[in-house]
C-alpha cells in the first residue's frame, strides 16, 4: 500500500482469490518470459520520494531558474501578463481539472458550456462565425489552418508571409514536408504580391499572414484580401487575440480562417507550454475545422444542453478520413482563457492592450533617441516592436541579462542570420513605468560601452540580487 495505491495486503489476497490466481505474477503469464528481464537503471530511482522530500526538491529546482524573477521584455509569441487570482481559483476546481474530454454530455455540462462560451468569445474577437475548442498552440494552429485550406480548396500551394512568427514557419515546414504533395512559397509583405506568386493562381490554396506580424508591425490586410479574391485562395490570418481589443476583426478584412494562441488570456508563460491554439472560421468552412466543437442543443425534456458536435470530422469516427489526428487538446488552458475574458470583459481587455501599447511606445521613444538605434518594425505597432542596434542583439541580450538582470528581448539573429542586430521587445502591463526607466538606462549603458562589459573581467553581479521582484505576474 502507498498513498496512491489503496489496497491492504488482506484486500490484495481477497482479490487474487476471487480472480483465482496465487499471485500477481500469474496475471502476466501472457508476457513471454524472455521479455521479463531485470531493468538496468541508469538514473531512474528504484524507490519513490516522500511528498515532503519532493516538495523541497522541486522548490530548490525552481530557484535555479533566475530568469523567472528577472525583469522581462520578452514576447515573440509568449507574453507574461497579470493573471487575476480568480482565474486560477476557477481553473483549480477539481471538477474541471480532473475531468476528461466531455464525451458523456449528461455529466459533462460544465466543461461543454464553458467551451461553448469560449467559442463565442473567440468568435466575437475574430469576427468569425465559429471557433474550435482548441489545438495545441499557435504554431500548430497555423499548420492546421493550412491543411484546412488545402482540403477546402483541393489545391496544394501555400503562400506564407516571411514576417510570420519564425517558429510558426518552422512547424508549418515540418508538417507540410511530412504530408508531402504540397508546395510552400514565401513572400515579402512589403513588396507587391503579384510578382512574388510564381505558381499558377488556380493552384494556390491559401495566403497566410500574421497581424501584427512577428516584428509587431500592423499592416492593412486589403492587399491580401484582393490577392485571395483574384486567385480563389483562402486568406488565413494568424493573430495575437489580445490585439483584437484594439484592431478591427480579420473578418472585416476578408479572412476565411483566423488562427492564433490564447496563452495571454490567463495562462503563464511556463517555459513554452501548455498554451492553446485556436482556429476560427466561417459557417461555410466549419465542417473542415480540426478538433472538437461544442454545440448547444436540448435534452429530451427540452432543457438547454450542450454536446460535442460535428463529430464526423474527427479521428475517433472517421479514422484515416478525419480532418486532423488531434484528440487531447488544451481544454484547461481554454478554461483559463474563458475565465480571464469573462473577468476582464471588453473594457478590461481594451485597457490591458492599451496600457501595454502606451508603455511600449514610451519605451520605443526612449530607445530610438539613443544614437544609431532605429525602428525595424513598421510605423504602426502596439505592444511589441523591433529595433536595429549598432551592436549585435546577442550581445545586448547577454549584457542586459548578466549585468543588469534584465531580459531585454529576443535576438532575431537566432531565427534569421541577417537580423543579428535586431532586438524584438515586448511590453505588457507588468512592465511598470519605473521598469521602463531601468531598461532604458541599462540599454544606454550597454550601447555606450559598445557591448563591452563595464565590470572588471571575472566579475559579474549576482543576477538574483539585481532582480528585485519587479514582476507582479503569475
Amino acid at each position: 500500500m502507498t498513498s496512491f495505491i489503496p489496497h491492504t495486503a488482506d484486500e490484495r489476497q481477497q482479490m487474487l482469490d476471487r480472480i483465482g490466481v496465487s499471485s500477481v505474477d500469474a496475471l502476466f503469464d501472457a508476457v513471454p518470459a524472455s521479455l521479463k528481464h531485470p531493468f538496468t537503471l541508469n538514473t531512474l530511482p528504484k524507490n519513490g520520494r516522500s511528498e515532503l522530500e519532493l516538495q523541497h526538491y522541486l522548490t530548490a529546482m525552481a530557484s535555479q531558474n533566475p530568469g523567472a524573477g528577472m525583469l522581462s521584455f520578452m514576447g515573440g509569441g509568449a507574453y507574461a501578463r497579470f493573471i487575476p487570482p480568480a482565474v486560477n481559483a476557477i481553473a483549480s476546481r477539481s471538477e474541471f481539472y480532473t475531468a476528461y474530454t466531455p464525451y458523456q454530455p449528461e455529466i459533462s455540462q460544465g466543461t461543454l458550456q464553458m467551451i461553448y462560451e469560449f467559442q463565442t468569445m473567440m468568435s466575437e474577437l475574430t469576427g468569425m462565425d465559429v471557433t474550435n475548442a482548441s489545438v495545441y498552440d499557435g504554431a500548430t494552429a497555423m499548420s492546421e489552418a493550412a491543411f484546412m485550406a488545402v482540403r477546402a480548396t483541393r489545391r496544394k500551394v501555400l503562400y506564407v508571409s516571411k514576417t510570420t512568427n519564425p517558429q510558426y514557419q518552422q512547424v508549418l515546414r515540418t508538417y507540410c514536408h511530412a504530408f508531402g504533395d504540397m508546395a510552400l512559397g514565401w513572400f515579402d509583405p512589403d513588396q507587391p504580391l503579384g510578382p512574388q506568386f510564381t505558381h499558377e493562381p488556380n493552384t494556390i490554396a491559401a495566403i497566410l499572414v500574421q497581424q501584427p506580424d512577428y516584428y509587431g508591425t500592423i499592416r492593412p490586410l486589403s492587399a491580401y484580401q484582393e490577392a485571395a479574391k483574384a486567385t480563389g485562395a483562402l486568406l488565413v490570418v494568424a493573430v495575437d487575440p489580445m490585439t483584437l481589443a484594439l484592431l478591427d476583426s480579420p473578418r472585416k478584412a476578408g479572412a476565411d480562417i483566423v488562427c492564433g494562441d490564447i496563452q495571454q488570456f490567463g495562462n503563464s508563460v511556463n517555459f513554452g507550454g501548455p498554451y492553446g491554439g485556436f482556429l476560427s472560421t466561417t459557417e461555410k468552412l466549419m465542417r473542415q475545422l480540426p478538433g472538437r466543437v461544442v454545440g448547444r442543443t436540448v435534452d429530451k425534456e427540452g432543457t438547454t444542453a450542450y454536446t460535442l458536435t460535428l463529430q464526423t470530422r474527427e479521428q475517433h469516427i472517421r479514422r484515416e478520413k478525419a480532418t486532423s489526428n488531434i484528440c487531447t487538446n488544451q481544454s484547461l488552458n481554454v478554461l483559463k482563457a474563458t475565465a480571464y475574458l469573462s473577468l476582464l470583459g471588453p473594457q478590461g481587455l481594451h485597457r490591458i492592450a492599451s496600457v501595454s501599447a502606451e508603455r511600449a511606445h514610451e519605451l520605443a521613444k526612449g530607445l530610438l533617441a539613443v544614437p544609431e538605434v532605429s525602428l525595424r518594425s513598421g510605423d504602426a505597432y502596439l505592444y511589441e516592436f523591433a529595433v536595429r542596434l549598432p551592436i549585435p542583439a546577442k550581445t545586448m541580450v547577454h549584457q542586459m541579462a548578466h549585468q543588469y538582470g534584465i531580459l531585454a528581448g529576443i535576438d532575431l539573429g537566432k531565427y534569421w542570420p541577417e537580423e543579428d542586430h535586431t532586438l524584438l521587445i515586448a511590453v505588457t502591463e507588468l512592465n511598470t513605468p519605473e521598469s521602463l526607466e531601468r531598461y532604458l538606462s541599462a540599454f544606454r549603458d550597454v550601447i555606450h560601452n559598445r557591448g563591452l562589459s563595464v565590470l572588471p573581467s571575472g566579475m559579474s553581479r549576482d543576477v538574483k540580487m539585481v532582480a528585485t521582484g519587479t514582476r507582479g505576474g503569475q
Binding site: 481477497q14 500477481v24 535555479q64 530568469g67 474541471f96 449528461e106 455529466i107 489526428n325
Partner: protein, 506 residues
C-alpha cells in the same frame, strides 16, 4: 434549471477585475491607422467577479471528475492525480520562466527536463527521446514523421504503407495519413490478437511501419509480439508502439525489448498529469538509435555541468511545436515518477492489472465477456445478454443508466471490432470498496433489465440534464451564442457519432 450563459448575465459597465490604466491620453488612434481600428467592441461578458466565480463554480458542479467519482473510461487511464505534482504549477520559478530565456537562467527547468528524458529511457529501454509533442496523437504524428524521414534517408521511397490492426485507436490511422502514408487495416484474429498469417500477407516492400499498442485495446497482451516485430523488420519496416496502454506493463518489461523502434507516452494517462477536461497532455516520443538523428528540435543536453537546448541537428525532422513542448505537464510527469520510483511504477501496473481482472471476474456473472483470457489493465464486456431480454436496451442505455448510480460510464462502442462493447479500465488508484460498489451497480442494472427495463431505456434520471439530443445538435448547429446557423438536413453518415461515439483520448 440550466445555468444561463455569461452573455445572458452580462450588464453593460460591469467588470470582474480592475486593471491599471494609461497614464497619458494616447490611445489606439495614436498607434494604429484609422482603417485598422476596431469599430465596435467585442461582446464579451460584463460581469462582477462574484458573478463570474458563481457561474464557473456552478458549471464545474455539473461535471463528473476523478476527484468526484469513479471514472472507468477504458483506454483513458483515469487515475487519481497526486496533488504533490501540482506544486510545479504553483512555483513562480517554473511558471514565470519565459521560453526565450537564455539557458543559463533556466537551469532548474532544463535539469528536470533532462532528468525526465533519462527516466523515460530507463523505463522503456529506448536510446533517445523528444519531449516536444503536446499530446499522444501529436507524438504519433512525430513518430511517423521520423519513420518517413528514416526511409527517405535510405532512399527507400517506395515504403508508403502503414499496417494498423482494426482494433487500433482512431488517432493511429489519422496520424499515419497526415504523414502521407496509406493505411492498411489488419483484421484481428478470433482471439482478438494480431493474426500472423494476415500480417505476413500484408507485409511487402511497400511496408513503412506497423502501429501497435500492446496490450491492445481489448486489454490483451500480444503474446506473439516478438514474432510480429521480427516479421516487420524482416520486411524492412519499422515498429511503432502506441503507449496509450503503458499503464499495464511498467516495470514488467521494457517496450524496446519487444522489438519496437519508436513509441510515445501519454503523460496525462500513465503519469497522472490532470486531464483538465480534455487536455493539456504531453506525448514524449522515444526511439532507438536508428531514428535518433531525426528527433524534432530541440533536445536538452548536458555538457560540462550545464544543461542546454540543442538546435543543431542536421537530420532532424524540424520543429513540431511552438517552443519546447508542454513544459509544465512534463514537470508534473517528472514529479509523479519521483513519487514512485521503478518499484512503485511496477506496483502501479500490477495493481492496475489486478483491479481489471478482479472487476472482470465479478462482472462475468451477468455480462458477456467476449475474450475469456486473463486481461491486462482493461477489458471488454458487451450488452449482449441484456439486449436479448429487451430490444431497446443496448450498450449506450446501460452506460447512461450507470450515471444514475454515480459512475462515469466505461468507454462505449470501442474498439470497433466488438459490437455493443464497453471497455472498462479501473486503474490502480481505486479501492476494493469502490470496485465492489461498481460491481453492485452493474448487478442491479442487470436486474433492472428484467424488472424495470424502461428505467434503463429512459436513463439517465438523476443527472443535471436528461438524455442530450445529439441529432438535434448536428442538424441545427448552434456553435456561437451570437450567431444563427442554417439548419442542415444531414444524412445518416453525418450523424455518425451521435449516440455511438467511441471514446478514448491519446
Amino acid at each position: 434549471m440550466a445555468e444561463r450563459t455569461l452573455f445572458e448575465q452580462s450588464v453593460a459597465g460591469r467588470q470582474g477585475v480592475t486593471v491599471p490604466d494609461r497614464s497619458t491620453n494616447q490611445d489606439a488612434t495614436s498607434w494604429v491607422p484609422q482603417g485598422l481600428l476596431r469599430q465596435e467592441p467585442p461582446r464579451l461578458p460584463e460581469v462582477s467577479q462574484l458573478d463570474a466565480m458563481r457561474h464557473f463554480v456552478r458549471l464545474s458542479q455539473l461535471n463528473h471528475a476523478i476527484d468526484t467519482g469513479f471514472y472507468p473510461l477504458g483506454s483513458c487511464t483515469m487515475k487519481y492525480n497526486p496533488k504533490i505534482c501540482d506544486v510545479v504549477g504553483q512555483l513562480a520559478g517554473f511558471t514565470q520562466l519565459h521560453p526565450e530565456t537564455p539557458d543559463e537562467f533556466a537551469q532548474g527547468t532544463l535539469e528536470i527536463v533532462f532528468r525526465l528524458q533519462q527516466y523515460l529511457k530507463d523505463l522503456t529501454g529506448f536510446d533517445a527521446v523528444t519531449l516536444q509533442p503536446a499530446a499522444g496523437a501529436h507524438g504519433e504524428l512525430v513518430g511517423m514523421m521520423m519513420i518517413k524521414a528514416y526511409h527517405a534517408s535510405r532512399h527507400d521511397l517506395k515504403r508508403t504503407e502503414v499496417l494498423i490492426p482494426d482494433s487500433a485507436h482512431g488517432t493511429n490511422p489519422a496520424s499515419a495519413v497526415m504523414c502521407g502514408f496509406n493505411v492498411i487495416e489488419l483484421p484481428s484474429g478470433p482471439d482478438g490478437l494480431v493474426d500472423l498469417a494476415v500480417l505476413k500477407e500484408a507485409l511487402s516492400e511497400r511496408t513503412a511501419a506497423i502501429m501497435l499498442t500492446n496490450p491492445n485495446t481489448l486489454g490483451l497482451f500480444e503474446k506473439d509480439i516478438l514474432e510480429i516485430t521480427q516479421l516487420v523488420h524482416e520486411a524492412g519496416g519499422l515498429c511503432y508502439y502506441d503507449g496509450a496502454n503503458l499503464n499495464a506493463i511498467m516495470g514488467i518489461t521494457q517496450i524496446a525489448t519487444m522489438g519496437f523502434d519508436v513509441m510515445h507516452i501519454n503523460t496525462h494517462k500513465t503519469f497522472a498529469t490532470p486531464h483538465g477536461g480534455g487536455g493539456p497532455g504531453s506525448g514524449p516520443v522515444l526511439v532507438n538509435t536508428k531514428l535518433e538523428p531525426f528527433l524534432p528540435l530541440p533536445v536538452v543536453e548536458h555538457h560540462d555541468g550545464r544543461y542546454e537546448l540543442n538546435f543543431d541537428r542536421p537530420q532532424s525532422i524540424g520543429k513540431v511545436k511552438l517552443f519546447y513542448g508542454n513544459t509544465e505537464i512534463l514537470l508534473r510527469a517528472f514529479a509523479y515518477i519521483e513519487c514512485f520510483g521503478l518499484d512503485g511504477l511496477k506496483d502501479v501496473s500490477e495493481t492496475a492489472v489486478m483491479n481489471a481482472n478482479y472487476l472482470k471476474e465479478c462482472l462475468r456473472q451477468w455480462y458477456h465477456v467476449p475474450f475469456e483470457s486473463t486481461c491486462m489493465h482493461e477489458f471488454i464486456i458487451t450488452s449482449q445478454h441484456q439486449h436479448a431480454r429487451h430490444g431497446d436496451i443496448n450498450t449506450m442505455t446501460l452506460a447512461k443508466r450507470l450515471m444514475d448510480y454515480g459512475f462515469h460510464p466505461p468507454t462505449v462502442y470501442f474498439p470497433l471490432i466488438v459490437p455493443e462493447d464497453m471497455m472498462i479500465e479501473p486503474t490502480e488508484t481505486e479501492s476494493k470498496q469502490t470496485l465492489d460498489a461498481f460491481v453492485e451497480a452493474m448487478r442491479r442494472i442487470d436486474e433492472e433489465t428484467q424488472t424495470n427495463p424502461d428505467t434503463i431505456v429512459q436513463a439517465p434520471h438523476t443527472t443535471p440534464v436528461k438524455r442530450v439530443d445529439e441529432v438535434h445538435a448536428a442538424r441545427n448547429p448552434d456553435l456561437n451564442f451570437y450567431k444563427n446557423f442554417r439548419p442542415t438536413n444531414v444524412g445518416p453518415d453525418q450523424l455518425q457519432g451521435c449516440f455511438t461515439a467511441s471514446q478514448f483520448c491519446p
